[in-house]
Amino acid sequence: MQRIDLDNCLTTKPDPLVVEAMLPFLSDKYYFPSNFVKTGENAKKELNNFRSVIADSLHTDISEIHLTSGGTMANNIAIKGYILSNSDKGAHIICSEIDYPDILTNAAFFEESGFEVTYLKADREGFIDLQELENSIRQDTILVMTTLANHVLGTIQPVKKIKEIIKSKNKETALFIDAGHAYGRMAIDVKDLDCELLSLSGHKIHAPQGAGALFVKKGVQLAPSKHGINRIDPLDTGGISIAALAGMAKAVELQFADLPAVISHIESLRDRLFTGLEKNLGKLCVNGAWGEHRICHNLNISLTDIEGEGLMMLLDMAGITVATGSACASQGLKPNYVLIATGRSFVESHGSIKFTLSRMTTADEIDYVIEQFTAAVQKLRKLSPLAQK
C-alpha cells in the first residue's frame, strides 16, 4: 500500500501535472530572462505568467507579486527588508509567542540587534490577545507580524480586526502576514486584509520545494536583504529555480481552479477523521479553535495517557505519516512551544498528534488511518501507567 501522508503542513507531494509543467524548464526552457534575445524574452513572459497566476489567487495586481525561492526566503525578504527600510521611524516590533519560527527567529535577530520586541500572548484556542496588541502599539512601532493560520493549531487569526486596531493606534505601522499554512486552504484577498506584506509557499499545495512568493503593497519600500545579481526578482537575487516557480504556478492553478470545492473536500475528510476517532476513542481534546476559525486541513488532538512519539512511530510502521508535539520527537527534547503557550500541559503536549490533510487525501485513506490510529492507541494504553489509573 502507498504511504498515507497526513503531515501536509510540513510539505506536500508534487501533483503529477505540476511535475509535467516543470519538465520543459529542466530541458529546453532553461534560460534566464533578458532583453533583445528570444530566449530571454520568452523567459520573461513565462515569469510574468507565473506572477499573474499568483496575483489572481490573491486578488491583486502582478506588480505587487515577487517570486522567491520559498516561503522562508519570502519571510526574510519581507521582515528584514521592511525593518531595515523603516528603522529611522522606530525600533519596536510586535509578534506573538505562537508565531511561525520564521517570524520568531527574525524577531530574536532584531532583538539582539537592539530592537524592542513585544511577544503577544495567545489564549487557549490560539487567538492572539487583541487588547494586548492595542496596548502595545506605540508611535515607534514599525511592524506587526502575524501567522494567518497557525502551523500547529490551525487557528486563523482575525487579521482584519488586527489591521483595524493597528490603524486606530498608528497609521504608520505596517502589517506582515505569514500565509504559508493558509494559502490555498482559505480564500485570501490582500486588498480586503489591507496588509502591507504577505508571504506564501508553493510546496504546501503540491508544488515542488524551493518556490514561494511575496505580496508587497504598492508604495511599500523594502531594503535589500539578499544582495546579488538580479536574475528573476530584484528582491530574491541570483538564479532561483524557474522550474520550481513553473511548478508553483501550475500548483496554484490547480488548487484555485475551484478553491471552495477543494476546501470543502479537505474539511469533510478532516471532520470524518475527527468523528471516526471520537467514535472509537471517546471524547478527544482538540488543540486550537474549531469551526470557521480553524483552517480546513488541520486536526490537532492530545491524548493524556500516552506519549506522542511512540504513537507517531506505530503509525509510521503502518505506513502513515503524522506529526507530534512530543518533546521526545523534537530535536531539543522540548515540548511544543505553541501548545505550552496556549495553556496545554506538558502531558498534553507530549501526547499531541497533528494530522494535516491535502486535496489528494481520500476517504479510504482516512478510514484506514482511523483504524490504525485506534489500534496504536489501544496498544500503547496497555503499556501506560497513566492509562491504568
Binding site: E307, G310, C328, F346, L383, S384, P385
Partner: protein, 205 residues
C-alpha cells in the same frame, strides 16, 4: 536520528508488559516534564534471591519502551545482587546502541529497576529506608528538567530554598511569572515529591 532493528523490535513487541498482581517490590521513576515514566514490578524468591518475574509499564517514547523491555528481560532470572550491578551501558549495548539523545532512557530504566530492588530490600528488612530529608528533596529536584535549557532546575540554580517539616515540603523556585514553563515546573515538582508517603503537602512558590 534512527532506531536500530533491535530497538524497534522491543518497541513494537515489548516483553513483560503489564501490571503485576501482588508484586514483592515496585517502583516508579521518571518525569512528566520529559514525558517519560517507567514502573517496574518484581516477583522475588526470598530464599534464592532470584528475580523470578518482572513486569513493567511505560509512559514514554519508543526508546523508553524498548529500554524498559530489554531491562526486564535482563533482570529476569538474575539474583538481586547481580541485577543491582546492571548498568545503563549494558542496557544500551544489549539494544545494539541508542541515538545519543535517547541514552537517558536506558539510565531511567536501570534506575527504576534499582529503585524497585531497594523497595524489596526495605520491605524485607535487608536495608533501612533512607530517612526523608531535605537532601531527598534535592535529589528529586535534580530530576525536574527546565525544557528550554534541557537541564535540571538544581544545575540551573533555580532552586532558592528548600524546607521540610511535619510532612510539608516547601520549595522556592526562581522563575519569573511570565515564564511559560513555570506552572508546569511547579506541577512536576508536586507530582515527583508526592510519590513519597512522608510528604503530606508540597508548597512551591
Amino acid at each position: 536520528m534512527e532506531y536500530n532493528d533491535k530497538v524497534m523490535d522491543h518497541f513494537a513487541n515489548p516483553r513483560n508488559v503489564g501490571k503485576m498482581d501482588n508484586p514483592d517490590a515496585t517502583a516508579t521513576e521518571g518525569s512528566y516534564t520529559c514525558g517519560d515514566l517507567v514502573t517496574f514490578y518484581l516477583k522475588i524468591n526470598d530464599s534464592s534471591q532470584i528475580i523470578e518475574d518482572v513486569k513493567f509499564l511505560s509512559y514514554g517514547c519508543a526508546s523508553n519502551i524498548a529500554t524498559a523491555s530489554v531491562t526486564s528481560e535482563m533482570a529476569k532470572g538474575k539474583t538481586v545482587e547481580d541485577a543491582k550491578k546492571l548498568t545503563w551501558k549494558e542496557i544500551t549495548d544489549e539494544l545494539n546502541g541508542l541515538p545519543g539523545s535517547k541514552i537517558h532512557c536506558s539510565v531511567l530504566a536501570v534506575d527504576t529497576l534499582k529503585s524497585a530492588i531497594k523497595d524489596y530490600e526495605i520491605k524485607k528488612g535487608l536495608r533501612v529506608a533512607d530517612p526523608f530529608t531535605k537532601d531527598t528533596i534535592f535529589q528529586e529536584l535534580k530530576k525536574v528538567i527546565y525544557p528550554p535549557a534541557s537541564e535540571d532546575i538544581c544545575t540551573l540554580k533555580m532552586v532558592k530554598y528548600v524546607y521540610f517539616d511535619d510532612g510539608i515540603a516547601t520549595i522556592i523556585v526562581d522563575l519569573p511569572n511570565y515564564d511559560q514553563y513555570k506552572e508546569h515546573i511547579f506541577e512536576d515538582i508536586k507530582e515527583t515529591l508526592s510519590r513519597y508517603p512522608e510528604v503530606k503537602e508540597v508548597k512551591v512558590q
